[in-house]
């Protein structure tokens, strides 16, 4: 009997072992919450984590670098979008203001875009996208919603060159409101101007506005230019030294109006 059993085991050892192993495996599977197994698994994870640490750190570093690269690209893209959105908002605002200005203006206004602002920062020569084909002529006056910008110095067929009023040699015949005193305006520095020929016999105060006088052959009357910021007496005591700020932010200009000759 025993020898028969022994012979059976020898013959079928593979099947018997398989049945035992499958049984044990199923038993283990049914007891997955076994505390000893969990402790062993945890300890193994502790041990293996030490071995894996350098690779994990390398992987982590690589991911951080990739993520950083991606984030930089995202930031750049978002900044571009934000900048574009802000530019559009400002352009929209300017155009709205211009429309308002056009509605209330007594002149025929031709909208124009500044297509080139010179190769150096602060230059007073600009290129407009309107020319003779649009009835633009030399000395056509350029304005912005805030006031006077300059004049066209050369008109091509489809574009024109213009000089803004902050050029050093420019002189403007002006009128100070509300007293209606006339004088000559010169560019001072930055976005400021100076008037030095107003007699001290008339009252001039800070905050008053300066407009074109209409005595010039080029500029029509009553185009706003700027606001007086400082009033002092000259050395001889007969005239004022008046400083003021232009209304137009020349550096930020994008669109203008050209006063066209009918």
């Amino acid at each position: 009997m025993l020898s028969k059993l022994y012979g059976f085991i020898i013959r079928k050892h593979l099947e018997i072992l398989t049945v035992i192993f499958v049984g044990v495996s199923l038993l283990l599977l049914s007891r997955t919450e076994n505390h000893v197994v969990l402790v062993l698994q945890t300890r193994w994870q502790d041990f293996s984590s030490v071995m894996k640490k350098p690779l994990h750190e390398r992987e982590h570093k690589r991911r951080v670098i990739d993520e950083n690269k991606q984030l930089r690209m995202d930031i750049f893209r978002l900044n571009q979008e934000l900048s574009q959105a802000q530019s559009l908002i400002m352009e929209n605002q300017r155009l709205r203001d211009m429309l308002g200005f056009r509605d209330t203006s007594e002149y025929e206004l031709l909208p124009a875009l500044i297509v080139y602002k010179g190769y150096k920062d602060g230059t007073n020569i600009i290129t407009l996208n309107k020319g003779r084909n649009d009835n633009v002529r030399e000395n056509s006056v350029i304005v912005d919603k805030d006031g006077l910008v300059g004049r066209v110095i050369s008109a091509g067929k489809r574009s024109s060159l213009a000089a803004m009023i902050f050029e050093p040699e420019a002189r403007l015949s002006i009128c100070i409101n509300p007293v209606r005193v006339y004088g000559i305006l010169k560019w001072h520095h930055g976005n400021t101007f100076m008037i030095d020929d107003i007699p001290t016999s008339v009252e001039v105060r800070e905050g008053w506005t300066v407009m074109t006088s209409g005595l010039s052959d080029i500029y029509p009357a009553n185009i706003p230019i700027g606001r007086i910021s400082k009033v002092t007496s000259s050395e001889n005591g007969f005239t004022y030294l008046i400083e003021g700020e232009y209304f137009v932010p020349f550096r930020n200009l994008r669109e203008v109006f050209i006063l066209t000759h009918d």
Binding site: V22, L29, V37, Q41, K52
Partner: protein, 164 residues
């Protein structure tokens, strides 16, 4: 004098053991899109083709248990790998006389079939109730079988599998 067969085994088994240990330790680094090979499976197939059935089946069970213990993906399934590997080795050992006589392409196809059945069995139990069976097949079973079979082929290129 040590025979050539013994010399080959002296290199093959330490190499496979090293691969197995490295595969366990760095399992998460050898994956491609979440698909990882089972180096132990390769080890056991080589063992079944080169060694006795008794050694192969005991190794399948014991190493299967060890694998369940150490691989993070199987924390809640201790015994599943041992069960699947024991059944695979039993089937392979029973079919071995037939498989070994097959021509090259059929021989390797049958080995791939074995690996595929192993993964199918394992994955269907592992993902039971979470992912439908069709997804289990094309998302996990097929790619994992292919990756593991590739490792087996690499081993075969160095140590031909049918030199028993």
């Amino acid at each position: 004098m040590i025979s050539n067969e013994k010399k080959s085994s002296l290199i093959l088994y330490p190499l496979l053991s090293l691969l197995f240990v490295l595969g366990i330790l760095f399992n998460d680094f050898i994956g491609i899109a979440g698909i990882r090979p089972d180096i132990l499976l390769v080890f056991l197939i080589v063992l079944a083709l080169q060694e006795s059935a008794l050694i192969a089946i005991i190794a399948a069970f014991l190493f299967g248990l060890l694998q369940d213990l150490v691989l993070p993906a199987t924390l809640q399934y201790w015994g599943l790998s041992a069960l699947a590997k024991t059944l695979l080795l039993f089937t392979l050992l029973k079919l071995l006389p037939l498989i070994i006589r097959l021509r090259n392409i059929l021989f390797f196809l049958s080995l791939f079939g074995m690996i595929f059945i192993y993964y199918l069995f394992y994955n269907l139990l592992y993902y039971a109730g979470f992912i439908n069976w069709l997804t289990v097949i094309y998302r996990y079973t097929l790619p994992e079988s292919a990756y593991t079979f590739l490792i087996l082929m690499l081993v075969h290129m160095i140590f031909p599998l049918r030199e028993k």
